[in-house]
Symmetry: C2
Subunit: 421 residues, 2 copies
Amino acid sequence: MQIEIVTIGDELLLGFTLDTNGAHLARELAALGVEVVRRVSVGDDPAAIAAAVREALDRCGAVITTGGLGPTSDDRSREAIAAVFGRALHLDEAILERLRERWRVRGWGTELPESNRAQALIPEGATVLENRHGSAPGLWLEDERGRWVAMLPGVPREMRGMLADTLLPRMRDRARSPRAEAPVIRSRTLRTTGIAESALADQLGSLAHRLEAVDLAYLPGWEGVDLRLTARGLPAADAEAALARGESAVRGAVGKWIYGEEGDDLAAVVLAALRSRGLMLAVAESCTGGMLGARIAAIPGASDVFLGGVIAYENAVKMGELGVRAETLATHGSVSEQAACEMAAGVRAKLGAGVGVSITGIAGPDGGTAEKPVGTVCAAVDVRGGGRTFRRVLVGDREEIRKRATQAALDLVRRAIAPDS
Amino acid sequence: MQIEIVTIGDELLLGFTLDTNGAHLARELAALGVEVVRRVSVGDDPAAIAAAVREALDRCGAVITTGGLGPTSDDRSREAIAAVFGRALHLDEAILERLRERWRVRGWGTELPESNRAQALIPEGATVLENRHGSAPGLWLEDERGRWVAMLPGVPREMRGMLADTLLPRMRDRARSPRAEAPVIRSRTLRTTGIAESALADQLGSLAHRLEAVDLAYLPGWEGVDLRLTARGLPAADAEAALARGESAVRGAVGKWIYGEEGDDLAAVVLAALRSRGLMLAVAESCTGGMLGARIAAIPGASDVFLGGVIAYENAVKMGELGVRAETLATHGSVSEQAACEMAAGVRAKLGAGVGVSITGIAGPDGGTAEKPVGTVCAAVDVRGGGRTFRRVLVGDREEIRKRATQAALDLVRRAIAPDS
């Protein structure tokens, strides 16, 4: 089964919104074994919407759209896609009643705004996909040849909820093949950090030709380089076997750089390792300003392991709250392995944690020197009084340097508490 | 001038990478007055790349691609796009020498990996776009009819750098019209927070019909709802005048919800307001775990105003470091306006700040109760001992609730220090 994704909204063409919907859909569909062959974004223009949907239907007969179902005048998907199918719009009383009820419960006011009524207009013959997460209902339109378009709302949370509640189950039923030997797409990702893409490629280059029926892709990002193995066109069992062989070969070659698999966040990997060792964690952050703590707190259940920490943005806070010595700052500077060590030890002692980890650096755009250019980051970990440090010049802009710094600090913790290090 | 953007990479179809490149390009092109009419993403498949580029060239004659220029076997853009133009590839010695030099300087090793040599293969007749930010050079191909494709690398930092260094100046020269009356696209965004999209639409509905030559779009997100005014097809001076009239009308109707304009981050707005009043800021965070501090520290120059704070994830830290009373926690719970007030006052006193701001909440997925469901967030601000608080049930998943909480806390600070509040 092949499909195309069409995301709709002027904001996508003006670049003011990231197409997170397209990415989420692609991920969920890949997991279902459905091959996304193209993604297209067009503006809130009925002619452009209709053209993109018509071309996609002609290419592969199955299209998911997001956006343009809202209550305002720039929401044009219903009419444009109804026209592709030659259907008229009519007012659906049941939807209108649900919209009224929802408005009352939310407590924004007593009367449904007039503009919300447009959301109750649906094409003839459309199946309504219930929206339990917002006001815009989704729609499914299908022609006599079995070609279909599913329209989802553009608000990411609503789109994700509706996809999981109604659309994926419906597609799963369609995609389920009666034959065990039906070809599928399967992929697997191994996540590395601390090694360059081309260095990985060199170590894996000869391997790539030996990975029978498996493609190897390199996906660099601020977290490191992901290695994605993909098997296409094999029956499910053969695809899984090919991936298992491929994974084993890749791990044999570059395993020391691999911290996780598909979807693993290094913060979650580190939290799990701390939990299994009964160690509580505290953080001390300067240039990252809380970003490391926020990454850790993003993991559900972090409170088992994460006590909190100190954001020591100013040097007075580093001294007053973390016990960094004035002499250390005067001799080595606030961006130094020595200061990082004292920050990690200080926060560990202050919060009574087993592990303290710290970051201090120059995120830019200003503040760099010849000796410590922008991107210079020092991190330290203190595990029950024993520690290790990190110093490197990270690349990127202010945001990317800070994100890379959190990754480097987490990797420092991972290596410090690994049984074999 | 119209253009299409084609972003290339299996990871985009598998959903493992957000298409930040497409969004960045769209934003930069819109600023130049170039209309992006469609964005397309295809995989690392030469046939799919060639088809997407050929169709886009047929529609509008100008295409920018990103991705597929790297050193590995899944990088296929050069060959696919060269084939669209009927050109062969040849090895460019100057590029190869630069790659070798770059490798030496970076210090990864002494010899350029064999796989990097592929990056020195370029189509006949191509213009090389210098890459000062990474290894893959960009390429510009043009046919005898003046139709062109610019190929940029897929690594966001490199793509952005090359775009600014070489491609935008080149396009600006082409786009520069000799006639002052040439039509342009101009847009302007007003950012609101704390009001629902449909409520805004009701207040602005009648206005929309009176906004001569200006389209009004509603862009909801976790920061609030952005209002985007766009003027199309007018000469630059007329477009600016129409936008100014539109902005004035919108501000008249919903100005109290507007905290900023195009690209403004509420954190930067708040920092600027604090700076102008000579107030230093400290944060105390529970469920957000440092995310508020990280947002503030993301703003270059934050150190003028931002001292740091305490991440009080565990209740013991709330009591020990912030002076939250055990009685408060026992009576009202850690997620309460009372606890938030004590956290804000505590961190303000501890760090000697003029303003303390706090967040405590239940980000989920677990931990909700009937009285305090998941999403319940309390925030408080303490300005030199005087304060105000916030309590609301925010919608979304764990991440979105936390992000909305930082926005609500920042808005609380904004309102508390505004001269007219």
